[in-house]
Amino acid sequence: MASATYRLAFEQPIAHLEEQIKQLERTEPKSAEIHDAIRALKRELAETTRRVYSQLDPWETVQVARHPDRPMLTDYLNLLFDEFVELHGDKFFGDDRALRTGFSKLDRYKVLVVGHYKGKTLKERNECFFGCAHPEGYRKAMSKMRMAAKYRLPIICLIDTPGAYPGIGAEERGQAQVIAESMLEMSRLPTPIICVVIGEGGSGGALGIGVGDRVAVLQFAYYSVISPEGCAGILWKSHDYAGDAARALKLTSKYLHELGCVDDVIEEPLGAAHRDHHQMASRLKMYLLKSLRELVDLPTDKLLAARYEKFRRMGQFLEGDAAPAATANGRPKAT
């Protein structure tokens, strides 16, 4: 994968080194010293990248999750699935472009892929409202998932949305109602469901396709009850506090796992997914295959009981005069 052209502010030291390497590599002929210098700089680059990415603040993580070069649904469809037979339309109102569904093959497994798409070109982005699905998107997803369950095709949901679309049409067509129904439906669909947040896990719009037997997030993805900007606007009365909100919301993979809300965190390549699409795709593929192997042969009643229990345990509260250490999910309290 070509190195990213779009730079985030904290990536400056990385960009600087990359630039230096590029310049040296252009020098012809190369003396032994230049070869040595390039090697040293590359080592330093790896070191710097590792250091920068190991110290990311939650707000910086959100920016990585939104990076324009970050692999999206279509990249994964190209890189890790054998084919994608798109199935359009909710047979009721329209064909939402922000939520796409279709048959696909992953090694020997035939699956249904459901995923958000944010768009790459301006035209695509406008078409799919930057990945914000309308009710017809969730209705489409629900109907294809029901169909998949009928033939026990496993379902793979790739989540990447800032949130469900807030608009007049969306409200008129029952945004709240379809998301509610989608969660209810997914909680009992008699087929394995694997959900992975690949970029942005924006609240109800994400959870609307996020109820499954396995829920994972990529290392630098985020998953949150509300966007940091939205939270800042409400609690701090200004979007300028989005960074504070991002830190307060504990929306990064480490916290999500500690809080018991995701099963697994999938590690990203050095310098995050946007630097190496292929490696990211192959790691995601390994995770999906491993999960499929674990799930496909489970009897349906066991599968559904475990899915219910997983979500049933989520939440933290005190009971009676019990010690504050008691948590609903038995995991240690996040600090």
Binding site: E171, I179, L184, S187, Y223, V225, L251, F317
Partner: protein, 284 residues
């Protein structure tokens, strides 16, 4: 999901009502709709419905219990559940302090009351969220109490009534845990429905965000009080996104009825008999 928070009515209007909510203010109060000054005692006797214009004003969770359930029949369940601060959340004020202040102000432990009682001599499982407690938002305690309520209703084969007054949707202060309550409660409702349970969801002003996008929309029957604000995204968020004026009456009960998402608009005074009748029709 929490997009509805704090923007449920006009900016200044919301502020004024919030200060009033849950506080036993003076002798008089002002109707939020027509502006009429009303003698508080008269309003109380009328279930906080404006005698002038019929507007349905804020009603606390205990008052809901009083007006919907037969007198003295309410038995609270899971009252011992207390909110905690799993994220060590802090905005302008630490969440722990906010919780304490809300508890002191409203006399409730969190935003929901659940339990059992009778509606015209029919035993039901009953839950209500109170918009005075952090906008009635759903965090772990609300999610857990409702889930336990639904599970018990499933086991004891009881009709389930949940009255929502949740402008806050999923509670931001508990982050992802709040979001996941939506899935948890919805999954419990799936099982309840499969077991043949009858769920009547009653929407009141306001029901937004993650509450609207979970249990509140999942009733076998969905009732709403007149002129309640109900929707997914808050009006301010929508306006900021699409940059056009919102149509008159947007996201009201009447708007939702017109678009097919509500079975009936029910006046507060009729709610009890309407619920009882629906239970009878469904043979529960």
């Amino acid at each position: 999901m929490a997009t509805g928070n704090s923007e449920t009515s006009g900016k200044s209007k919301a502020k004024a009502t919030r200060e009033k909510r849950g506080v036993p203010g003076g002798l008089w109060l002002r109707c939020e709709d027509c502006g009429e000054t009303i003698y508080r005692k008269e309003a109380d006797e009328l279930m906080s419905v404006c005698p002038q214009c019929g507007y349905h004003m804020y009603l606390s969770a205990p008052a809901r219990v009083k007006w919907v359930l037969d007198e003295g029949t309410f038995e609270e369940w899971d009252a011992e559940l207390l909110p905690t601060d799993p994220l060590a959340f802090k905005d302008k004020k630490p969440y722990v302090e906010r919780l304490k202040a809300e508890q002191a102000r409203t006399g409730m432990r969190d935003a929901a009351l659940t339990g059992t009682g009778m509606i015209r001599a029919r035993r039901v499982a009953f839950g209500v969220t109170d918009s005075a407690f952090i906008m009635g938002s759903m965090g772990s305690v609300v999610g857990e109490r409702l889930t336990r309520l639904i599970e018990r209703a499933t086991k004891e084969n009881l009709p389930l009534i949940i009255i929502s007054g949740s402008g806050g949707g999923a509670r931001m202060h508990e982050g992802i845990l709040s979001l996941m309550q939506m899935a948890k409660v919805s999954a419990a409702l799936a099982r309840y429905g499969q077991a043949g349970g009858l769920f009547i969801s009653v929407l009141t002003n306001p029901t937004m965000g993650g509450v609207a996008a979970s249990f509140a929309s999942l009733g076998d029957l969905v009732f709403a009080e007149p002129k309640a604000l109900i929707g997914f995204a808050g009006p301010r968020t929508i306006k900021a996104t699409i940059r056009v004026e919102l149509p008159e009456g947007f996201q009201t009960s009447e708007f939702l009825l017109e678009h097919g998402y509500i079975d009936r608009i029910v006046r507060r005074a009729d709610l009890k008999s309407e619920i009882a009748r629906a239970i009878d029709y469904c043979g529960k």
